[in-house]
């Protein structure tokens, strides 16, 4: 080996040591799948935005933990005052990272901002759509919040409300988020990285992780390789085929439910027998452990088993192609135009192996006699077909979609997906509308029972959609961390929960 080559190798090794040194004792590097388009707290329900901001920078009024239920966060307690009004008592001595004290008027401002038509916040639209929210500041640390129509789960809804200072603009997004969280937003090098550091003035316990750097890599194999090579500590979202190391990879229900939305208004999909045939024609178990991960659950409803009212008595539709053919024949005999071409629409890059999944579904449907074609479309085109107003000349369609609900209550899903006025609903069913209204207004055991009844009706009576799977996600975590990803990792990554081994 020449002396120059020796020098090169020595430098390379030195640089390797330097890469290792990036992972300092009390700091972590998180590798995300895409760069954040904005760093706006009221868009923290978008997965990658949430993984940086949610509860790290911007804290919520309450906090929903799928294990322990609703917990205090910026509010210490809450009380039902009747008539849709809830009183929240806020924690005193909480400061924003700009040094100002958090008070009730900041919460009031955050509620107004969340619903501001000038910026169309994700949280306001996603969780408070169709709900009028007003507030009344009682004193510095007490605020009454009123929802119209009344929301018995208003404290749970408040677990999505990120609190920002009262001078945060109502008509524009922020590019340097200020919050009350355990970390401060310190640096955003566009295209390269985001850096957070521990907030020395945080009201709660100081976190173990003192600093975090977020970097962005589009390729799942690279994200996995970065953790394997010690360049990153957590890759919260890697593909099934890259999760090859049992010591580093964690699988967990990622709160996504995969389904095919049925266009009920269009023949032949407006016939219940045809919809039942669609459900019976799919060999769901054949997907699990092959093109979808082991641990993927067969779905009977839109929300994962961790939500209240999830009906565990419902059985997934069995794979019964003969029965599906019989049902189609019976429908045809009654004049249902089962030969009409149905378009199966898939969303490109929606999850690992989505194309393979859609092709397998297409083959299964064609096998029982459906006249079906597959179209894979990008997200923008998919949205145009998925959300109202639907295209008028759409014809009969099945649209593949995933729905995420890690919030513990089906209310976050049902109106959107199944109410006649729901933005993504393929249904026009007054019975379903009434059941959603009843369940939304109920509390406690009655609420769980009413959601459960709705799940049964949608699955067995109406056959509203072709329910497929509760999906599994993979995160790769460096062995130096004591951190187990959970269903929440899909939408948030609380750095304060991370310890070191």
């Amino acid at each position: 080996m020449t002396s120059k080559l020796h020098l090169f190798m020595a430098s390379a090794l030195a640089s390797t040591v330097a890469f290792g040194a990036q992972a300092q004792e009390n700091s972590v590097t998180v590798v995300l799948s895409e760069e954040l388009e904005i760093v706006e707290p009221c868009s923290a329900t978008k997965s990658n935005v949430g993984r940086v901001l949610f509860q790290n920078i911007s804290e919520t009024v309450t906090e929903m933990d799928p294990e322990t239920g609703l917990q205090p966060r910026l509010a210490e307690s809450w009380e039902d005052m009747g008539n849709g009004t809830w009183r929240f008592t806020l924690r005193p001595d909480v400061n924003f990272s700009d040094g100002t004290e958090m008070r009730a008027d900041d919460v009031a401002h955050s509620l107004v901002r969340m619903k501001s038509p000038d910026i169309a916040c994700e949280i306001g639209a996603k969780f408070f759509g169709g709900i009028e929210i007003t507030s009344n500041v009682i004193d510095e640390y007490t605020i009454d919040v009123t929802a119209d129509p009344a929301q018995p789960i208003l404290p749970m809804l408040m677990s999505t409300v990120t609190v920002t200072p009262s001078d945060t603009p109502l008509d524009s997004f922020v590019d340097h988020p200020i919050g009350t969280g355990p970390y401060t937003f310190d640096e955003y090098v566009r295209g390269q990285s985001i850096t957070l550091n521990a907030n020395p003035n945080y009201w709660g316990d100081q976190p173990t992780v003192q600093s975090a750097t977020y970097v962005f890599r589009g390729d799942s194999a690279v994200r996995a390789a970065m953790v394997a090579a010690g360049e990153a500590d957590i890759a919260p979202n890697i593909a099934l085929q890259d999760a090859t190391d049992e010591t580093l990879d964690f699988s967990y229900p990622n709160s996504e439910t995969l389904f095919l939305r049925i266009e009920h208004a269009q023949a032949p999909l407006n016939d219940r027998r045809v919809r039942e045939a669609l459900s019976l024609a799919v060999d769901r178990e054949a997907f699990v452990g092959t093109i979808l991960a082991n641990g993927t659950l067969l779905a009977t409803g839109m929300t994962p088993p961790s939500t209240i009212g999830y009906n565990r008595d419902l059985a997934p539709y069995p794979f019964d192609p003969d029965r599906a053919r019989e049902l189609l024949a019976a429908a045809a005999a009654d004049g249902v135009p089962i030969d009409t071409e149905i378009t199966l629409i898939g969303r490109t890059n929606n999850f690992a192996n989505v194309l393979e999944t859609m092709e397998a579904l297409l083959a299964m449907y064609q096998d029982v006699g459906f006249n079906m074609k597959l179209e894979m479309v990008e997200v923008a085109e998919w949205l145009e077909r998925y959300a109202k107003p639907f295209p008028e000349d759409r014809g009969p369609q099945l649209i593949q979609a995933q729905h995420d609900n890690a919030n513990g209550d089906p209310v976050f899903s049902m109106y959107f997906k199944y109410h006649s006025e729901g933005q993504q609903s393929g249904l026009l069913d007054p019975t379903v509308d009434a059941m959603i209204a009843d369940a939304t207004a109920a509390t406690g055991d009655e609420r769980a029972a009413k959601w459960s009844e709705l799940f049964t009706y949608l699955h067995e009576e109406s056959i509203a959609d072709v329910m497929l799977f509760h999906m599994v996600g993979f995160s790769r975590v460096n062995e130096r961390l004591d951190f187990t990803p959970s269903i929440r990792t899909n939408s948030e990554l609380q750095l304060s929960q991370i310890q070191f081994n």
Binding site: A12, R190, G218, D219, A225, E231, A380
Partner: protein
Amino acid sequence: MLKFLGTRAITSGISLVGLILLVFFLSRLTGDPTGLYLPLDASEESRNQFREIHGLNDPLLIQFFNYLGDLIRLDFGDSIRRSEPAIDVVLRGFGWTLQLAAVTMSLVVFFAIIVGSLAAFHVGGVFDRIATFFSLIGASAPDFWVAIVAIVIFSVNLGWFPTSGTGTVWHWVLPVSVLFIRPFGLILQIVRGSMITALSSAYVKTARAKGIKNRPIIFVHALRNALLPVITVIGDQAAALLNGAVVVETIFGFPGVGKLMIDSILQRDFTVVLAAIMVTATAIFIMNILIDIFYSILDPRIRY
């Protein structure tokens, strides 16, 4: 020469306007970006306001003329996705791409000329066969596969280089190496073929008869004439890199203009798409003019 430069500037300008026209209307055909940027149940009022802010409510022709009007004042508009001037976003990405392309092409040209010339001089020999074999493999290997294999071997297993990102000189080794392979294979083949022709020409035979040594024959007499077709291919390959090495930029986390362009098309971020195309097209026009000038330097018979 000045007349030539003036003519090229005018024709390039006309091409650029044609390109803007084409991209503007084609991008609008992909649909309204409102649904992508606003929450699904955003009110019609919000949607209208969004369209108003981004000038999407006007008839298409009015939008186009408004855009041209802004362009004359060098206002490329704001990125819909990033809420900052589109040109800032593009120039940031283009800077990375330009560096990547410059480093890669410098190495490619240097090594392809040396190896290609030596292969041509020893045509049919062991060196020639090895060079031809590897250059053909290199020219046909898919970038994404080479990139992932390189990461697995050199980053994960050997730990020599970082997997991705930027920051140190070591971060450049793998992306430049992966980008190097294909143009190196192509240009080496062109150099080799061109040099074989040049080395069998009468003026080389004359030079040999005069007793001139091999090295000056290859690198002074033959190479100068053999380079003309090579420069065309170098120009094409450099243009491809300037357009953005999308796959390599994505895999290695290089925030270049290629990845930006693809992301912006998918996100219907029209202003960024247009700005990116204008910046890269302008760079390619400039590069083509430089190549033409270089042609005339290499071959004094070429006059503009």
